[in-house]
């Protein structure tokens, strides 16, 4: 009973944060609508009901885009196994999961660093360099040079190495000369993107013919990650499986291993870690290596499997969204996976919302930012909605 209570307690703030952020998002949709504003003075009730209707339309489009259209799903259920219909019914939710894969990886990666007390905000750069590693491995070993399974494994290994190397630099600098990882990792994000630009615009081996655009060759010609769904047109590949296994591995590492114990101690109380004889420098470097490797693995799998191409902007907003996810998920692997799935839903659902209601997808960035703000201020969040089940008691044992 206590365990369930504790679990519910941990979920309280994140769940409330998402809920309140969506609510405020709705207010924004209502009060930024030109038509609503235009009628607000002359016909306030009509204007508000129009606004509420608009918000409802937007959020229902968001839901349909994220999870699927009930009507289509009904048809698919009635169709007795029509592959086309099933593909249409499942595509939204599958795409939402696809969108969450990079978030899971980078979210897990930065969580390991956060747990160690290092604010690694270089997830984007490490992810990008992992994508570089994976792309190079695909170009070198794919296309029949080595058997497909070996090529896939090499893609993953190169991704791990790419991300780890990129994270090693700020880790080493922090451990040796005390350089702030916040600054170094941000800078390395830019350098990683420019490095990709350099690669995909200067090398025939990499650049897509006829070498006009700064993008790599189509990678699916070299390595094809196996899908995991029986319907071929749904592009969910082994990336999600690797992501979930990584979450389990991270959890195991943090909470069961000796090294993980050292990292968590350093993260919670660096003075006590020194007192206990744990090497602070080696904790920093280990945490950064692992952190970068996980993000890099994600970069490689997504570049080769989902995007099938390397481009300078491959990381998109993954780096910053992943920081939010790590914080919302309490830097706990299970929390990170759950939050990444929710953010994946929001992201993919948001694209349909944009198409059907002309509400820009930036609205979702706004909602994500609000979620972070509320998570960062739990007292504020709890204050907004006084939860009757909340007993803020201090446990004192004498």
């Amino acid at each position: 009973m206590n365990r369930i209570g504790a679990f519910a307690g941990k979920l309280r703030v994140p769940a409330l944060s998402i809920f309140v952020a969506l609510f405020i998002g709705a207010l924004f949709i209502i009060f930024t609508d030109v038509e609503v504003l235009g009628r607000l003075l002359s016909d306030p009730i009509g204007a508000l009901s129009l606004g509420v209707g608009r918000a409802a339309t937007a959020y229902s489009a968001l839901l349909r885009g994220a999870l699927g259209d009930p009507e289509t799903i009904g048809k698919a259920l009635a169709s007795n196994g029509d592959v086309q219909l099933w593909a249409r019914a499942l595509r939204p939710i599958v795409e939402s999961v696809v969108a969450s894969v990079p978030l899971i990886f980078v979210g897990l990666g930065v969580s390991v660093a956060f747990r160690t007390g290092i604010f690694n905000i270089g997830g984007a750069g490490q992810y990008t360099m992992g994508a570089v590693g994976g792309t190079l491995a695909a170009l070198i070993f794919g296309g029949g040079v080595t058997p497909a399974p070996i090529a896939i494994i090499l893609v993953m290994i190169f991704g791990l190495i790419g991300g780890a190397l990129w994270a090693f630099i700020p880790g080493f600098l922090k451990a040796r000369v005390g350089a702030s990882e916040v600054i170094t990792t941000i800078m390395l994000n830019f350098i990683a993107a420019q490095f990709v630009f350099f690669l995909v615009s200067n090398f025939e081996f990499i650049q897509k013919p006829p070498r006009i655009q700064p993008v790599s060759k189509e990678l699916s010609q070299f390595v094809d990650l196996p899908g995991i769904l029986p319907i071929e047109s749904l592009r969910l590949d082994i990336g999600i499986i690797v992501a979930l296994l990584t979450a389990v591995a991270v959890s195991w590492f943090l909470f069961r291993s000796t090294r993980g114990f050292e990292l968590r101690t350093a993260g919670l109380n660096i003075a006590a870690a020194k007192y206990a004889g744990m090497g602070a420098a080696s904790s920093i470097i280990t945490a950064m290596l692992i952190s970068g490797a996980i993000s890099g693995l994600g970069g490689a799998l997504v570049a080769v499997g989902t995007v099938k191409q390397l481009s300078p902007g491959i990381a998109g907003s993954v780096g910053f969204t992943a920081i939010a996810i790590a914080l919302v998920g309490g830097t706990r692997p299970s929390g990170v996976v759950a939050t990444a799935l929710v953010f994946g839903l929001l992201q993919h659902g948001g694209s349909l919302m944009q198409v059907t209601t002309s509400i820009p997808i930036e609205m979702l960035l706004f909602i994500q930012a609000l979620v972070i703000a509320f998570i960062a201020a739990p007292e504020l969040t709890l204050g907004i909605i006084k939860n009757p089940f909340v007993r803020r008691s201090k446990s004192v044992t004498k």
Binding site: R256, L268, G277
Partner: protein, 502 residues
């Protein structure tokens, strides 16, 4: 003025901090308010100074009921607080510090009238016998004098009720005696004084009447004439307490720790420990006394591998360990109870079990092929929790939710879980309740009796005198004297603590 607090009740979530507390102090009277940490003294004073509002109960001054919505109202009503941690600006001089916030002004622009201010401060200090140089910079003053400045500040604001919160914590015994003189003088001139402390001897020395708090209620009222230290301790704890540590004569054997001409720098690069030389032998307790900030922290950090030794050498069982890391030193048989348990001694947010293995987790008994052996860890922690009487619902409880005494027991259990040749205990009982102090002292003496060498660093003179077989005194980084227990009287140690080498 006469101050009465009647039936003050203050409930915090899960804690009834004050339960119908009534105290009173008359014009010209000194009330000693005695209680352990957590007894409710601080809450009561925060209510009196306007920081909290009571759930029920009333504050009366000269018979009229008053409510304070904020500290400014309490100050205007004549209540002056002198906090344990001084609130002074180091670069200001005494005059500026005293008048800060209610400065005399002159001219149309209201510029600071320094001449008047200085004259007022001089007059005030003369009137109350508080000798300070009005032009001295705060940062150049010793702690005892800074405290006088705090008291002057309160008097300058026309306080007629003066509240002193643990005022002797930072003072040498001689400075404490001077403080008592000041308090007696203030009372004579009509000020009502509330003197908050957990030190039994002090209330007996200075108070006119004594109120004892226990667990948020008034446990008893008495007078110094009727009370003894033992009776007060019993009132404070609720049961009979052994005030002296019972211990047999020590069987002193070979030296375990030899420190030779050791110098250590502080964070700013200045000399914090200046050529310290001493030894601690098997079967004895060497207690290092001294006012806080005289190099004790750096001394302990150097001996435990947390701070480099600048010069000199240190031998542990005849082996040099000057370059040792904390882990090497720990595995050589050194137990370290750190000065600041919140900062160094434990990791809040981790469980009791995790804190128990904090510096032994890497040993084969707990770690196999890079993974923690949770069964072995649980079994060892369960045993330690039982052996050391740690009161906790479970070993998986976050250590942050334990009381200070139980937290310290976990730390002591951890440090004594290894083979111990040398115990280095810095402020081992700071902030603990009497029961826990008793317990931890007993455990330390046990280590000595089983042949370990024990080095205790404490700013509490009572603790030093109760435990030390020999007493060393540190002053400005130097060991200014080492006395045998039989020669270590309160007066001699006190003089040494003030840097006076007879």
């Amino acid at each position: 003025m006469k101050l009465e607090l009647q039936g003050i009740t203050k409930q915090f979530p899960g804690v009834l901090a004050n339960d119908r507390i009534s105290i009173s102090v008359d014009k010209g009277q000194v009330l000693g308010l005695l209680g352990e940490n957590g007894a409710g003294k601080t809450t009561l004073m925060n209510i009196l100074s306007g920081l909290y509002r009571p759930d029920s109960g009333s504050i009366r001054i000269d018979g009229t009921e008053r409510t304070f919505r904020d500290p400014a109202e309490a100050i205007n009503a004549g209540i002056g607080m002198v906090h344990q941690h001084f609130m002074l600006v180091p670069v200001f001089d005494v005059t500026e510090s005293v008048v800060l916030g209610s400065e005399p002004t002159k001219g149309p622009l209201g510029s600071f009238d320094r001449t008047t201010a200085r004259a007022q401060v001089v007059e005030l200090s003369k009137k109350h016998g508080l000798h300070v140089d009005p032009d001295a910079k705060i940062e150049s003053l010793p702690v005892g004098v800074r405290q006088r400045v705090e008291i002057l500040k309160a008097l300058y604001r026309k306080s007629e009720i003066l509240v002193l919160d643990e005022p002797s914590a930072v003072l040498t015994p001689q400075e404490t005696e001077e403080l008592f003189e000041i308090i007696r003088g203030l009372a004579k001139s009509g000020t009502a004084v509330i003197f908050i402390t957990h030190k039994l001897n002090e209330v007996i020395a200075v108070a006119d009447k004594i109120t004892v708090l226990r667990r948020g209620t008034v446990a008893g009222e008495t007078t110094p004439a009727a009370a003894t230290a033992a009776s007060l301790a019993e009132m404070m704890v609720g049961r009979e307490v052994q005030l002296t540590v019972s211990r047999s004569k020590s069987k002193v054997l070979e030296p375990i720790l030899e420190v030779n001409e050791m110098s250590v720098l502080n964070d700013a690069g200045a000399i914090a420990v200046d050529r310290a030389t001493f030894e601690v032998r098997s079967g004895e307790i060497l207690a290092i006394a001294g006012v806080q900030g005289n190099g004790q922290t750096e001394l302990v950090e150097a001996l435990t591998g947390l701070r480099p030794i600048d010069s000199g050498n240190v031998m542990l069982e005849s082996k040099a360990f000057a370059a040792g890391s904390p882990r090497e030193i720990a595995s050589a048989g050194v137990a370290h109870i750190p000065e600041d348990r919140n900062r160094d001694g434990m990791v809040k947010g981790m469980t009791i079990a995790e804190n128990y293995i904090l510096n032994t987790y890497h040993l084969p008994q707990y770690s196999k092929r890079g993974l923690l052996d949770r069964k072995a860890i649980s079994a060892a922690t369960e045993k330690a929790v039982k052996d050391f009487d740690v009161r906790t619902p479970s070993i998986d409880t976050d250590i942050a939710s334990l009381s200070g005494g139980n937290q310290q027991k976990v730390i002591v259990a951890r440090e004594f879980s290894r083979n111990v040749r040398l115990v280095i205990a810095a402020q081992p009982t700071r902030g603990l309740d009497v029961g826990s102090i008793e317990y931890i002292h007993r455990r330390i003496v046990e280590q000595r009796d089983s042949g370990a060498a024990v080095l205790i660093v404490s700013t509490e003179l009572d603790e030093v005198l109760a435990l030390g077989d020999r007493v060393a005194v540190m002053y400005e980084g130097r060991i200014v004297g080492i006395l045998d227990a039989k020669d270590a009287t309160r007066e001699r140690v006190g003089l040494l603590m003030g840097g006076i080498v007879a």
